[in-house]
Symmetry: C2
Subunit: 288 residues, 2 copies
């Protein structure tokens, strides 16, 4: 077996709200790391946790009690354990660092470098829910289905393991689809064509986008392709493996959607609903 | 081989001064973790680093440049490498989390649970320098030899590996000799007798203790046995292995001092210079 090690830090006020429920903070911290393991096709086995807690204006007992409840829940859910770490105090916000350890069979790898022209691009689950949930929290609007996706991403651990040998490349979407897919393009030396019409969007998000809840005319549909925090798997596979991918989707009960194609060259293109190329900006988009 | 994984966090204003030189902060962060590996007899091979940096009132470029210089220096010094991690921002102090990975031959272990009555207790290097250095910094007195020990502990990596098969128990002293030795007592179900006269004290510290630099009559000699931050190895071995321990000391050029004996029962006793038992308090001591 190979060991896979990944490490991610989360800071109060940056990666989570300081008044978030500690059990949800714990679960998100674990799940962000589990998603990294998923993208490498690894089975989670254990993790180390360092946590810095404020000394002042902070009910340490009730916070830690709720936090450990969250850890325990996701240890059971994902079949792994806390192996060590330490607890320190800080004058700053709660700061969590997790080192996640996974294992996988030797030479059974998921990488970002194996995509070739004509490979099909797939994504798991739905996109944009989490980013819309975050926006809803910031605006003080309660949309439970979206907010829950923000607090509790679903790391695609089983899917990651299932696509080993079929996926030619894979990663988990943390910064947003169009931002993260560039890593595959760079490391596989290919381009991509993605079709907005094909992107999987939940009914909650569709409703939210139509609702004008914020009483502005701003179009938030870019959250779908560059909202980030999705923690869905993005992967590519040969045309001939389409039926295998469908079979995996059925077996695991995980929605998998074909969203585009790998191309030769190095262009990263998103086509809008009427087939025009969308220009992707850092924080939004504009039509050409 | 076995992999050994250890994780330690350091927070600005708690574990180091925020105006400490970043290269020294980096080296200390690595060395604290290296000391953990040393206490397990492991050879350091790589580490992961998470670092949270302030956004405001902070010259990130010059800080990071100095910090990485420190990392590089101790990567070379100890023959290991940075394998990954992440950088995030924080509204609080600089927060560093290191996950250190070491390896050792299977079944070649250093534990805390193998000490038996009549085993000899050894300690490497000198005790108390680091704690006195910290005190000197706080009081604004420049005593370079002691302050350097505070900033740059010497992880006893080679010694840790050399005593495998000879040491019946081992740990690294981070909280102070008399505090940490309790771990061996508990896990080995034994007691100890330590002799203050035998504790290794540097000439710099002896001078410092005599100097009354702080213009008080307070006796700081307790820093020797409960100052902490020593990162020296404490270990036990059978009487019959005395010459082996002496040979290791000569070969590695590391001072090793016999400081006491393991006893049956569970008493943790420190005898003072005239053979009376010292009562160890949390923050100092008093005579019975």
């Amino acid at each position: 077996m190979d060991l896979i090690i990944t490490k991610d830090a989360l800071v109060g006020g940056v990666h989570f709200f300081e008044n978030d429920k500690p059990n949800l903070i714990a679960q998100k911290a674990l799940r962000v790391n589990l998603s990294d393991l998923a993208a490498m096709g690894a089975e989670p086995i254990g993790y180390f946790l360092s946590i810095a807690l404020p000394k002042e204006d902070f009910d340490i007992d009730s916070w830690v009690s709720s936090f450990t409840e969250g850890l325990l829940k996701d240890q059971r859910e994902f079949g792994w354990q806390l192996w060590g770490g330490d607890t320190v105090s800080t004058t700053g916000p709660v700061t969590i660092s997790i080192t996640a350890i996974g294992q996988k069979t030797k030479n059974h790898n998921l990488t970002r470098s194996g995509a070739s022209p004509d490979d099909v691009i797939y994504v798991s689950g739905n996109l944009g829910d989490s980013a819309a949930g975050l926006l809803a929290i910031k605006k003080g609007i309660d949309i439970p289905e979206l907010i829950e996706r923000y607090h509790l991403p679903i790391p695609r651990v089983e899917l990651g393991r299932a696509i080993i040998g079929i996926a030619t490349s894979a990663l988990d979407i943390s910064d947003g689809l169009m931002s993260d897919i560039k890593h595959i393009c760079e490391q596989s030396a290919v381009g991509v064509e993605i079709f907005l019409n094909n992107l999987p969007v939940s009914s909650s998000l569709k409703e939210f986008l139509k609702s004008n809840l914020f009483e502005t005319k701003h179009d938030y549909s870019h959250l779908i392709w560059n909202g980030g925090d999705d923690y869905e798997l993005l992967f590519t596979a040969r045309e001939k493996d389409k039926s295998n991918v469908e079979e995996i989707s059925r077996t695991l009960g995980v929605k998998i959607t074909e969203i585009g194609k790998i191309t030769s060259g190095n262009k990263v293109i998103l086509y809008d609903t009427i087939g025009k190329e969308l220009k992707i900006e850092n924080t939004g988009f504009s039509h050409f």
